[in-house]
């Protein structure tokens, strides 16, 4: 069967160890259009990775039952694309690309495959990692939420992640903007003595593709001192369909999933569904009624999700002693804030309902621009509100401070 391959590739392929051959074929299969994680898993388990690859590469894809069943559901053009791609791919080069220092390639069914995922009903056939796999043997908590989060939500995610990390919990998230990024940042901020950073980033792209670009630094920090996990081969951009698939990995890698902020129909809700399928406890952070960013979490609570007011609630839910962690993070208590003036109180009242612009606060309070601006700047310096672009919003401190 390998005689169907071009000579050079063939020779190089023969020099690989049997384990490497399987890995190379799985990487090659993962590159094929129309062949998603579920089909890849079935090819691996039912037909064998090597057989699947060579059957498809030599045009005998009809021999591979899982692929036939998958292609039957798709447009005929996908078959042509898949065959064309398979006939030109050099799987040995694909494998070499994954073999970078610090990177790991784990094939489902082998001993090195992370135990947590091995039990998962939708475990990826091949998993790419970068960093310390030991993190996965710790208790893990997934912290997820909307990309367009409020300041208070981001601050809460960050402090919760930090406290969880301090208690020895690995924080799993997706490296997206908003809540994801904030929770990674919180976990990274707690540098254990020479130990790894308790941040697990599960991404939809190849490990060498940074998405979103704005999180380049965060991406590097998690990869260098935490753990990065992906089922996407190196160099592949995150197509839209890969994000829901990624969400199932977050659910599968977590002992509990905490939703910090989410709208009714958000990507976080997909992670919640995946967690429920796996029997992973779902927790939600309550938000102000009516705030768009908290509609999803409030609905989750109404539907019976566990309440996550702080890290202690989460630790309790996963059975970790909340007092295991060190002293609270703020060793120096924030300076005693002076009593808010009436103007400041009325401004806080407006901002607590929803993030607002200067003009909205002026209209809602009936005060002059100067009064409102002064109150806003005083509150901002005191850390009770934050500003992003034109929008003022209460911080976690401002929300709990009253």
């Amino acid at each position: 069967m390998s005689g169907d391959l071009p000579g050079a590739t063939d020779a190089a392929f023969r020099r690989l160890s049997p384990a490497e051959r399987t890995a190379a074929c799985l990487v090659g299969l993962a590159h094929l259009p129309g062949l998603g994680p579920a089909t890849l898993r079935r090819c691996h388990l039912e037909h064998g990775a090597e057989e699947s690859w060579f059957d498809i590469a030599s045009g005998h894809h009809r021999r591979v039952v899982p692929v036939v069943e998958q292609l039957a559901r798709m447009k005929p053009a996908v078959t042509d694309k898949m065959l064309k791609e398979a006939s030109t791919r050099d799987v040995v080069a694909d494998l070499r690309r994954q073999q970078q220092p610090g990177w790991g390639l784990h094939v489902l069914g082998t001993r090195a495959y992370p135990e947590r995922l091995a039990r998962d009903p939708d475990a990826p056939a091949v998993l790419f990692t970068c960093g310390d796999l030991g993190l996965l043997s710790r208790p893990t908590v997934g912290i997820v939420g909307t990309r367009n989060a409020t300041l208070a939500g981001r601050q809460l995610a960050e402090s919760m992640a930090a406290e969880l990390a301090r208690a020895g919990v690995a924080v799993v998230s997706g490296l997206a903007l908003g809540i994801d990024g904030a929770s990674h940042r919180g976990a990274i901020g707690i540098a254990a003595d020479a130990g790894p950073v308790a941040a697990v980033g599960v991404v939809a792209s190849g490990l060498d593709v940074v998405y979103p670009r704005r999180h380049l630094d965060l991406h590097r920090r998690v990869a260098s001192s935490g753990l990065m996990v992906s089922e996407t081969p190196a160099g592949v951009r995150p197509d839209a369909w890969r994000f829901p698939a990624r969400n199932r990995l977050i659910a599968g890698l977590s002992d509990a999933v905490v939703v910090v902020e989410s709208r009714i129909a958000g990507g976080s809700m997909h992670t919640v569904d995946e967690a429920l399928i796996r029997g992973v406890p779902v927790m939600a952070v309550p938000g102000p009624p009516g705030a768009p960013a908290s509609q999803g979490t409030n609905q989750l609570l109404f539907d019976g999700a566990n309440l996550a007011r702080n890290a202690a609630d989460v630790l309790l839910a996963i059975g970790v002693d909340p007092h295991l962690g060190a002293a609270p993070p703020h060793g120096s208590a924030p300076p005693e804030a002076p009593e808010p003036t009436p103007a400041e109180l009325s401004v806080l009242d407006v901002l607590e309902a929803t993030p607002s612009s200067l003009a909205e606060v002026v209209a809602a309070t009936g005060r002059t621009v100067e009064e409102v601006a002064h109150a806003l700047s005083t509150l901002e310096i005191a850390g009770r509100i934050g500003r992003s672009g034109a929008w003022y919003e209460v911080s976690a401190a401002g929300r709990s401070g009253r």
């Binding site: 367009n148 704005r214 929803t354 200067l358 700047s377 005083t378 310096i381 672009g389 034109a390």
Partner: protein, 503 residues
Amino acid sequence: MLASIPSAIVIGVDGIPVTVEVHVGNGIPGLTIVGLPDASCREARDRVRAAVMAAGITWPNRKITINLAPSDTRKVGSGLDLAMAVGVLVACGELKADNVAGLAFVGELGLDGTVRPVPGVVPRVDAVAEDHVVVPWRSSADAALVSGRTVHGVRTLREVFDALAQESRLWPLHPVPEPDVVEQVVADLADVRGQDALCDALELSAAGGHHLLMIGPPGAGKTMLASRLPGLLPDLDARTAMETSRVHSAAGLTLGGLVTRPPFRAPHHSTTMVALVGGGSESMRPGEVSLASGGVLFLDELGEFPPAVLDALRQPLEEGVIRVSRARFSAVLPARVLMVAAMNPCPCGEAGRPGACRCPDGLLARYRRRLSGPLLDRFDLRVHVDRPAVAALLGGEPGTPTAQRAERVLLARERARERGVEVNSQLGGAQLEEAAPLHIDAENLLKGALTSGRLSARGLSRIRRVALTLADLGGHRGPLLAPQIAAAMALRVDVTGTNGIAA
């Protein structure tokens, strides 16, 4: 036989005197125009001949040469027609040179002998050295704006011929033409409900000459607010009024008398660079910026303008003039505008509100990237406009009327004049230091903002100027207070900021 008749052409907004020299001699009959005429100017040959014959005067069947001096400047347009016709009549002996002496002529000729208006009558009349100027009757009101000139409005070449045929030069007495200008009605700010903070920003902009950028979703009333801004501005002073009139005349706009109210120009975002800043053809037509000089230039949908066009605005905004140069000519056009711009931050209408905006981050970033930092920096005021609350729209209290705000603007501008500038935005560094000392609280506020990186050194003086205007409007004298500084900072939204999405 030789005649030389004074006239003028326009380049940019300036008139340039031109002497039309006509020589009638022996040779093959015909008319030649030399002295760098362009196509429209050379076509005068046929117009002049037809008009002379239509006036009932015999066309001299001789060799006629017309020279337009200075002959190294390109002559564009038909404004020299009348001068050429009179020159031909003098040179061939139909008119006496003495009767024509001391007169300049401006106007285009029709084939039937009518004298038609041309663009730029004001700068042309201003340019000629003669005290008496013959202009098309329709333009006589505009021409009369130039002081120290006696203007004779004429309708036909025959009228000119009849008047110049006698020594007494009896000019026809035509009634002053009715200007067919539609008076620009500026709506009142009292109709604007539930946008008090925006109206304040508008007043601030008018009082201090601070360029204003409004960011907000469609339907928030950005255009409506901007169109009400001219109502807040005081009447143009004599010098600016004359300058604006010259620009409008050069661009061929009907004036209907001296332009005394600040103009409002709102070019569409498909406007080309030449149409915006001026130039283009060899007549160096003034662009929208110059037409708005002394008034308001409103750029709606700022993000849709091509970046190159917007960047061309930076130098004029700083200097107050545009220097347009081409290979052969250069022109200096006025550009003292108050720039007001509007833009939508994103398509969903929530404009990046944290937790509510549904737009992908990339879309927001793409929108912001279109605006260069240096251009954004020119806007002293960058305010966010929201859709007003429903309650305020229906049955809310009417806002402060324009007249009341305009009065405050006038007083604030009076204060600026005491400092030796027209508006606070023109205050230089040293002047600002002297005019706007800081209260200790205000200084601490600024220090805090500078150290935390929320304010740049360049932003600092802009904030101080705006705060000074705020103080002027509030009738406050003495060092600037913290609330004024805070308001100035809050009215300068960071457009390139992360807009609610954590970086």
